[in-house]
Symmetry: C2
Subunit: 80 residues, 2 copies
């Protein structure tokens, strides 16, 4: 099975990388761009687990290892 976890800064946290990308796009005349936020994506291949187990364990490991819960938020989904 494959799980995708998306980690991004909380909305209240400044995102200088996203701002830099936005500014680069604007200087290249992609002036329809209003805002850019950059984050991380993890694609995790795991052994087959029950849905219940996945719902327990993926948020747990995302919270402990993949994201810093003080400044980041995450979402996850089963992709395969």
């Amino acid at each position: 099975m494959r799980i995708r976890v998306l980690v991004s800064y909380k909305d209240s946290v400044l995102d200088p990388q996203g701002q830099t990308v936005r500014n680069a796009l604007l200087t290249m005349d992609y002036n329809f761009v209003k805002n850019v936020r950059q984050g991380k994506v993890f694609e995790i291949e795991i052994e087959d687990l029950s849905d219940e187990k996945i719902k327990q364990v993926i948020p747990e490991l995302a919270d402990k290892v993949l994201a810093n819960p003080i400044i980041e938020k995450f979402t996850w989904e089963i992709i395969e």
Copy 2:
């Protein structure tokens, strides 16, 4: 409108960050984890554009700015 672009290393490219995360998870007894690949996610807020324009312009800017096409691949989708 909001566009999500996922950028990750091509499968043939080593991913030391993903390996480090995998090793960390294994030492924490998440031993159902088989592999981890880490990438970047960009959430781009744009003015309303036609589907046709989006299909032209998003791959173009992803290729020029968000990803390094030598070692990275990307996918994108409209999320809002």
